[in-house]
C-alpha cells in the first residue's frame, strides 16, 4: 500500500454506504454459511442490515475473527490520502461510537470511514449498547 492511497472496501448496511480500510478485512463470506454465534454481528452502530447477504470477516484486536453482516459488498476503491478527511471534532465529541474515524471523499461526497475492529469491539456482549466515548484526537 502506497502512502498516497488507501485501499478501501465499500459496503452497505441498511441505507448507508460505508468504507473501511482493507487491512482489517480477512475475507468476504456468506453469513448463512457461518455459525450464528457471537462472532456473527448483525447489528452495530452502523445500523441493522436489511438482509444478511454478505459478511465481512474482520480480524479483531484480540486476534479473533468476527463477521459483520452487511447488505451488500459494493467493491474496492483506491482513495488518495488527500481524499481522506478526519471526523469533525464536534461529531467525534457527540457520536456514541468511535468506529467512524473519518470520511473518504468519493466523487466529492463524503463516505463514512469505519474502523471495523473498533466497531466490532463496541459490539462485544458486555459492552452492550454503550461503547466508550472517544475524545477527539484519540486514536
Amino acid at each position: 500500500m502506497s502512502d498516497a492511497t488507501s485501499e478501501v472496501l465499500l459496503f452497505q448496511v441498511g441505507a448507508r454506504v460505508y468504507a473501511t480500510e482493507v487491512r482489517h478485512v480477512r475475507r468476504i463470506g456468506n453469513p448463512s454459511a457461518a455459525k450464528a454465534d457471537d462472532r456473527l454481528v448483525a447489528g452495530s452502530a452502523l445500523g441493522d442490515p436489511f438482509s444478511p447477504d454478505r459478511g465481512i470477516v474482520v480480524r479483531c484486536d484480540d486476534g479473533t475473527e468476527r463477521t459483520l453482516v452487511v447488505d451488500q459488498v459494493i467493491g474496492f476503491r483506491s482513495v488518495p490520502r488527500d481524499h481522506v478527511r478526519p471526523l469533525p471534532p464536534l461529531a467525534a465529541h457527540c457520536l456514541p461510537s468511535s468506529a467512524v474515524v473519518g470520511f473518504a471523499l468519493l466523487d466529492d461526497l463524503p463516505t463514512l470511514l469505519v474502523d471495523l475492529p473498533t466497531l466490532l469491539r463496541e459490539q462485544r456482549p458486555g459492552s452492550a449498547a454503550g461503547p466508550e466515548r472517544k475524545e477527539p484526537n484519540d486514536a
Partner: protein
C-alpha cells in the same frame, strides 16, 4: 489541527471597522424562533448554503450530519434542536454560518441569518443566572437598536452538545 482562518472580503477586523466606535464590537447575528443570537464576528468565517448532508449513524438530533465545503468535511449543528426546539428545516436555501473557535469548527444553522451587528461593549451584561436551556452557552447579553441579543460561546455550545448527546 487548526486551519488558517479564512476571511471573506468585507469581514471586519477585530478593532475599529468602519461604522463601529471604539466601544463597539462586531457580532454576527442569527435568528432562531424569533429570538436573536450572535457570535463574535471574527469567529464567523463564512456563510454558506448547506450542501448534501451525509448523516451520521446514531447521531443526536441536533447533529443532522456532515457536509463537504471546499474539500473540508464540516459538522452541522442545529442550534434550534440543541435548545430543544423544533428542527430547522433544511432546504436548498438554508444558510449555515461556519463558526470557528479553537479546535471547534462548526456549521451552525438557524432560521435566518441576520448578518453583522454592532453592539456597545459597555452595554454587555452577563447571561441570566438560571443555567437552564440557552443560558448555559451564552457568554453575554447585548442590546442594540432592534432589541436584545444573546451572544453565544462556541466552546460552551460544544460542551452543551456533548452533555446532551449522552442523554440522547
Amino acid at each position: 489541527m487548526p486551519e488558517p482562518q479564512k476571511r471573506e472580503p468585507g469581514t471586519p477586523g477585530a478593532a475599529g471597522a468602519e461604522g463601529a466606535g471604539p466601544s463597539e464590537a462586531w457580532y454576527f447575528g442569527l435568528r432562531l424562533m424569533g429570538a436573536r443570537y450572535a457570535f463574535e464576528a471574527p469567529l464567523v468565517t463564512e456563510v454558506v448554503r448547506l450542501g448534501p448532508l451525509t448523516r451520521l449513524p446514531a447521531a443526536p438530533n441536533f447533529l443532522p450530519g456532515v457536509f463537504t465545503h471546499r474539500g473540508e468535511v464540516l459538522a452541522v449543528l442545529d442550534l434550534s434542536q440543541l435548545m430543544g426546539l423544533q428542527p430547522v428545516p433544511i432546504r436548498p436555501s438554508t444558510r449555515a454560518a461556519i463558526v470557528h473557535s479553537g479546535p471547534w469548527k462548526v456549521a451552525v444553522i438557524a432560521d435566518a441569518v441576520e448578518g453583522l451587528v454592532a453592539l456597545d461593549r459597555r452595554q454587555l451584561e452577563p447571561p441570566p443566572a438560571e443555567g437552564v436551556g440557552v443560558a448555559e452557552f451564552l457568554s453575554a447579553v447585548g442590546r442594540d437598536g432592534k432589541g436584545s441579543l444573546a451572544v453565544l460561546d462556541l466552546p460552551r455550545l460544544v460542551e452543551a452538545a456533548r452533555a446532551r448527546s449522552v442523554n440522547a
